[in-house]
């Protein structure tokens, strides 16, 4: 009996492993490698000596993961600590402001009834088609008139709202049944209380997604800081990295170390937030 079962299990496995599946997985594996390889190469090179980097055949694994000379050079040659601090300040401020305005706007566009609501919303959506490079010109004038160029505030102010995230969150808010709203109103809650006590907690998964995407965009922002920032002490990381590469020597090790500093916080953030995005999806409490 036992052998019979084993045999049947084996044949079943054989039957399930078709050529199509093998090809699918091979293809996926290649795709994954293509995606991950540059990151691996960047991080590993950050720990290699100059000799290892230029050696042939290339060294796939650094001699010692404790070789931190490249990071030291990067930090000495350019104020990466300051860049890092600037990036953190700008990202946190932008994300906090954008999230707040996005929540309010989404509530207005999904729940409040006012004249021209849908018209205004579709107008806003059409503004999404305008490329940022175009807006950047007028924004530069505005920011200069405010006297905010070459300041962190100048990096923050233009990015305190987002049509795209408002669009995402509004669509989620629309999917929350009306009965929850009316129920809360009858329970005595005001619009404001309903928004913060019911809607926002329910929308947590969407909010985390928005915050994550937004943080990523702010962190990686390069074009705008290049226009606005003129002095080294106000640079953010991506701009700082760019400046470092054009001002620094030809040693790849410190570049890779600097690039790692830019990238690692976002990877860490994603790994932490991913859990919330998945966990937050559980819903319930509504029937019918």
């Amino acid at each position: 009996m036992e052998t019979n079962e084993k045999v049947s299990l084996l044949t079943r496995i054989k039957r399930n492993v078709t050529l199509g599946k093998v090809l699918t997985y091979v293809f996926l594996a290649i795709g994954a490698l293509v995606m991950v390889w540059p990151f691996y190469w960047m991080i590993s090179s950050a720990f290699k000596t100059q000799l290892e980097i230029v050696s042939f055949p290339p060294a796939f694994v650094p001699n010692s993961w404790a070789y931190l000379e490249n990071f030291k050079i990067a930090f000495v040659k350019a104020p990466f600590a300051k860049y890092f601090f600037n990036s953190i300040v700008v990202t946190i401020a932008c994300v906090a402001c954008t999230t707040f305005t996005t929540i309010l706007a989404s509530f207005a566009f999904s729940r409040l009834n006012f004249k021209g609501r849908d018209l205004i919303f579709s107008l806003l959506l059409s503004f999404m088609m305008v490329p940022f490079e175009m807006v950047a010109m007028t924004n530069t004038t505005t920011i200069t008139q405010f006297g905010l160029n070459n300041s962190l505030l100048g990096l923050i102010v233009p990015f305190t709202t987002s049509i795209y995230y408002t669009f995402i969150l509004r669509n989620f808010f629309v999917s929350i049944p009306d009965s929850l709203y009316y129920s809360a109103r009858i329970d005595g809650a005001s619009n404001w209380q309903y928004l913060w006590k019911i809607m926002v907690p329910i929308a947590k998964p969407s909010l985390f997604t928005i915050i994550l995407l937004n943080a990523l965009t702010c962190w990686n922002s390069f074009f705008w800081p290049r226009i606005i920032i003129t002095s080294a002490e106000n640079r953010t990381l991506p701009f700082g990295l760019y400046a470092f590469m054009s001002e620094g020597g030809t040693e790849y090790g410190p570049y890779m170390a600097a690039a790692t500093i830019v990238v690692v916080p976002m990877i860490a953030l994603f790994l932490v937030a991913r859990k919330y995005i998945v966990n937050g999806v559980a819903r319930g409490g509504l029937k019918g």
């Binding site: 009316y182 006590k197 947590k204």
Partner: protein, 355 residues
């Protein structure tokens, strides 16, 4: 709390959902808003709760005009058809929510919520999320949340429609029990006549936004105001025979039969009338003298001590209960007598009852 509704009207564009509705609900009663779907009963409920603004008319809670008062200030509790529990909160947090909004101190509101959970028998599930509860439990939580702030009026929108048949019976009794224990004026919406008949003190029967009758359940059955009411209540449905009033006689439409019927003399000669007969109100009598008319048995179905028979008069048929020991068979002539109760005459065109 007494609720007075005066000439209440709700229009959505050209469509009139509730039309000139006036009535008074007495304090402490359980009232059913009954009617087929689309009759405006939920619209009525939403206007009572304040969710929907009224087009015309007034609503009074006791002597206060609440017509333009917003839902959060009306002091009503509402249980939605889908219960509308807050999915991210536990049962306890859900029940506490109205008190939290009132800024009641934490210990006090938890104590009150627990008390309310006990009343509706969900005190074992306080730490669960709504998603982990069955339909019946969710509904109890929704009722507890509606009751915890001691509303003056409790409103239930199709409270039993999402439950399976057995649970529905159980929750029906529960709603009655909770209502009687709290003594709170309660209005619930249903399309199920049996549900309305079994637990309510009074029923409002509605059709196309118009109030048809407001009466006690038994009265609604025994003394319907019109054809629609008689038709809507009762199982098996009331028998209807269509005819014309002719010289105090009820004559079938095609003239195939005719018999004296007193009420027929109260309408104009030749008026089209409908005779409504409840199945239990027509019965076999011994002689043709006692009978209202003589018919013919067209089929019988055994139902234990009685048989449900189809009796033919002229070319129309109706149902009646016949004692099985009488042994009527298909094709037998049968003398049919009417009881005093459960036989009504309506004007066919208007549905109006002839008394």
């Amino acid at each position: 709390m007494k609720i007075k509704i005066e000439h209440l009207t709700k229009r959505f564009g050209n469509f009139t959902a509730v039309d000139d509705f006036s009535t008074t609900f007495e304090d402490g009663e359980l009232i059913a808003l009954l009617g087929p779907s689309g009759c405006g009963k939920s619209t009525m409920l939403n206007m009572l709760s304040g969710i929907l603004p009224v087009t015309e008319g007034k609503i009074y809670f006791d002597d206060d005009d609440v017509t333009d008062v917003s839902p959060d200030k009306r002091g009503v509790g509402l249980v939605f058809q889908n219960y509308a529990l807050y999915p991210h909160m536990t049962v306890l947090q859900n029940i506490c929510f109205p008190l939290e909004i009132q800024k009641m101190p934490k210990e006090e509101r938890i104590a009150k919520a627990k008390e309310m959970a006990k009343l509706v028998h969900v005190d074992e599930f306080l730490d669960r999320k709504p998603g982990q509860l069955s339909g019946g439990q969710q509904q109890r939580v929704a009722i507890a949340r509606a009751l915890v702030k001691k509303p003056r009026l409790l409103l239930l929108d199709e409270p039993l429609s999402n439950l399976d048949a057995r649970l529905r019976l159980e929750m029906r009794e529960e709603i009655r029990r909770i209502q009687q224990e709290t003594g709170i004026t309660t209005v619930f919406v249903t399309h199920d006549q049996e549900e309305a008949m079994s637990i309510s003190d009074h029923i409002v029967l509605m059709k196309l936004g118009v109030k048809q009758q407001y009466a006690e359940p038994q009265e609604l059955y025994n003394d319907p105001a019109n054809n629609f009411v008689a038709d809507f209540l009762g199982n098996p449905p009331i028998n209807k025979i269509f005819g014309v009033a002719k010289g105090g006689n009820f004559e079938l439409e095609d003239g195939s039969a005719s018999f004296p019927f007193e009420l027929c003399s109260k309408v104009a000669e030749g008026t089209k009338v409908t005779l409504g007969i409840r199945a239990e109100s027509a019965y076999p009598v011994a002689t043709a003298e006692e009978a209202a008319f003589v018919g013919e048995v067209s089929s019988t179905y055994a139902m234990g001590k009685e048989e449900l028979g189809y009796i033919k008069i002229g070319n129309q048929e109706f149902r009646a209960y016949i004692a099985s020991e009488l042994g009527y068979k298909k094709g037998d002539a049968i003398n049919v007598g009417f009881k005093d109760r459960g036989v009504f005459l309506f004007v066919t065109e208007t549905g109006e009852r002839v008394r």
